[in-house]
């Protein structure tokens, strides 16, 4: 694969950095960067088709420009959305590219795949860093020997996807941004849908694990599937209305009205019970020692005890 094509697909790579070294931050590059962010807000992770070399360069540079805009804005909501979208785009490229490319991209994040006893493995600290906290990826359900975790080709791609998300989300602060970046940022904010969601749930009314999820939602952080499911079941069980729950979920970077509506009605229809503390713990979401057995039983605790637990 040509370096420019590689850089186009993987704009965070060192190849990309080298290619755009001499590209000026023109208005059109900034505009492309802003467009890239808008695509993320629309959840459109398709790749833009560019053919000639100079447009390729501009397209690669648009990633850097987008990051500058985000670094200037410092808005966690937009940044999370952008990170999720870019990582999804990378994932679909990885699915199309061969094994060699996947390894090349992985190595960018220090993910070194090794062969041990004919199995594909990566070292434990790296695995911990980039695996998501879903049951399938929990360390306890993996083959772990002598500091190495066995992974499948698909696992590797998922780890890279998460590495990209984390990398993109970690945007350096841009102080004294160029005028063009500032303007693009302003326009972006102006174009944001104005339905600012407000979360109005009295704190202390919920167990610490739920408070933490609320906190994450407020900060527009991404939640994994088990977290979303648990959160939704809990909120449903305390008789929070669908509209209010949707209001909370609208804060998540990859919120989708239809999916959320469908999932909430599914939860209601099936009448799921709130998972036990042990299950919540297995999702990696337990963050305190309440000894209630089930998060829903939090509401039976005395105010005194609640205060003690919340510190």
């Amino acid at each position: 694969m040509e370096d420019s094509d590689f850089a186009l697909k993987y704009p965070f790579s060192s190849e990309a950095k080298r290619i755009i070294r001499d590209v000026a931050l023109t208005d059109s590059v900034v505009e492309l960067g802003a467009e890239r962010i808008k695509k993320a807000l629309r959840k459109d992770s398709s790749a833009r088709v560019v053919i000639d070399e100079s447009s390729k360069k501009e397209e690669i540079a648009s990633f850097a420009a987008a990051r500058m805009i985000l670094g200037h804005l410092r808005n966690t909501f937009i940044t999370s959305k952008f990170a999720v979208n870019e990582s999804k785009a990378v994932r679909s490229q990885l699915d199309r590219d061969g094994r060699k490319i996947v390894e090349r991209v992985a190595s960018r994040f220090g993910i070194a795949v090794g062969e041990h006893d004919g199995r594909q493995k990566i070292d434990l600290p790296t695995y911990l860093k980039y695996s998501i906290r879903a049951p399938y990826y929990r360390l306890i359900n993996r083959k772990l020997t002598n500091g190495f975790v066995e992974i499948s080709d698909n696992d590797l791609k998922r780890l890279v996807e998460e590495a990209v998300r984390k990398h993109v989300e970690d945007i350096p602060l841009v102080k004294n941004a160029p005028e063009s970046i500032k303007k693009a940022g302003e326009r972006l904010i102006d174009e944001l849908p104005k339905s600012e969601t407000t979360i109005t749930v009295r704190e202390g009314d919920h167990p610490p694990c739920i408070l933490k999820l609320l906190e994450s939602a407020k900060k527009h952080e991404n939640l994994n599937h088990s977290a979303r499911w648990f959160f939704a079941v809990y909120l449903t069980k305390i008789n929070m209305g669908e509209e209010a729950i949707t209001g909370i979920y609208a804060n998540l970077p990859d919120f989708n009205q239809r999916t959320t509506a469908y999932q909430l009605s599914h939860i209601r229809k099936k009448g799921y019970n709130v998972p036990s503390c042990a299950t919540v713990m297995s999702y990696g979401l337990c963050c305190a020692v309440c000894r209630v057995g089930n998060p829903i039983k939090w509401h039976k605790l005395s105010e005194q005890r609640k205060k003690e637990i919340l510190g």
């Binding site: 070292d123 434990l124 600290p125 790296t126 911990l128 860093k129 906290r133 049951p135 399938y136 929990r138 360390l139 306890i140 359900n141 993996r142 083959k143 772990l144 020997t145 002598n146 500091g147 190495f148 042990a278 713990m281 297995s282 999702y283 990696g284 020692v289």
Partner: protein, 362 residues
């Protein structure tokens, strides 16, 4: 404790600190905390080297002294964010939970077994960390701390450390995922082999163990030696289908094995490992509640905290008990005491009871 007793204790502490051995890696990057009333009354202290730390201990002599598991660019800076976190040792805390003031001291052996398993089975075998990066420390009271300082692990975040603790505690273990079924006829179930690492290997080894010790625990079928041996032979190759049992049923029956896996795991204090700014007792400092040294343990099997972690002293101290004390095996001697009893005891033993609040110096 009486004012003059406390003064006396501090004097003994101070004379120990004059020559105590401290090897605190990257001491200049650690935050220190000291305590007299509580375990930590003041924190955000820093010391450029062991000498200055030692002279602080000799001159001020706190009852408790801790250092951060973390390394910071500016360890004394406040608030926390200004310290600039550079990494942290991975800490595991093993504590005994027992009733009564002296209950834990009778169960110190139990936690030793857990310590052995934690270090050898989990940290060394599964996590692949070599012995040179691990230190085991008696907490000075009723448990042990394991400090791990291995490349790659010191940079882990709280969430990632939590994953390691959950692993050690067997949280979220879904043993059913260890097994896969083949679509072909006859049906087959593949699972872990005894020579595999981690929980998978443990699952296979425990199943074989159980089949040998209690053949019909999984199914009465295995009371038949031939059928049992045939099944075990398959497990050794990772083929769990060498039986006439329905394979999906068999997998469910194996739950009784899976349930024992977490029990053998270590009950580790979750908060300590996860908290990136946690302060932990300085190895080789004295625990102010017992007068015992938070001693670095080289050989777990031969270490007896109530014998090996006491101060070296030939002195005798006269004390008077202010309450009944049940039998404790201190310094190789099991003794109990009655209220108002006056005794002459070796200094470390006398200190132990005075600091526990069961006696006064007479």
């Amino acid at each position: 404790m009486k004012e003059q007793d406390l003064k006396r204790m501090k004097k003994i502490f101070a004379s120990y600190y004059e020559t105590a051995e401290f090897s605190i890696p990257e001491i200049e990057k650690r935050e220190f905390g000291i305590g007299n009333v509580k375990k930590i009354d003041a924190r955000h202290l820093d010391f450029p080297n062991v000498q200055s730390f030692r002279s602080y201990l000799c001159n001020n002599t706190p009852m408790f002294v801790s250092h951060s598991a973390a390394y910071y660019e500016f360890p004394a800076a406040t608030p926390m964010q200004k310290k600039q976190w550079k990494g942290a040792d991975l800490i595991f805390d093993l504590d005994i939970h027992a009733e009564g003031k002296y209950g834990p001291y009778r169960k110190l052996d139990e936690v030793k077994e857990d310590l052995d398993r934690l270090v050898n089975d989990f940290i060394r075998n599964d996590f692949g960390i070599s012995q040179e990066h691990i230190i085991m420390v008696f907490s000075g009271n009723r448990g042990y701390h394991v400090h791990v300082r291995a490349p790659g692990f010191t940079e882990l975040g709280g969430d990632e450390r939590r994953e390691l603790v959950d692993y050690v505690m067997g949280q979220g273990l879904n043993y059913r995922e260890f097994f896969t079924f083949s679509e072909h006829r006859p049906p087959k179930m593949f699972g872990p082999r005894p020579d595999e690492g981690g929980y998978r290997g443990r699952m296979a080894r425990r199943t074989v163990d159980l089949l040998m010790k209690n053949p019909s625990a999984i199914s009465r079928l295995f009371a038949n030696e031939k059928k049992r041996e045939f099944f075990i032979g398959g497990i050794k190759k990772g083929n769990w289908s060498k039986t006439s049992l329905k394979l999906k049923d068999l997998r469910e029956r194996l739950k009784i094995v899976a349930d024992t896996l977490p029990v053998s795991s270590v009950n580790t204090d979750v908060g300590v490992t996860q908290d990136l700014s946690k302060l932990i007792r300085v190895p080789n400092s004295i625990h102010g509640e017992t007068g015992l040294i938070a001693k670095i343990v080289d050989d777990i099997s031969s270490f007896e905290p109530l014998r090996d972690a006491v101060l070296e002293s030939k002195e005798i101290m006269k004390i008077k008990f202010t309450e009944d004390v049940p039998e404790v095996a201190l310094m190789g001697e099991s003794r109990s005491f009655r209220k108002d009893e006056a005794k002459e005891l070796p200094l470390p033993a006398a200190m132990f009871y005075v600091l526990k609040g069961s006696a006064v110096i007479s």
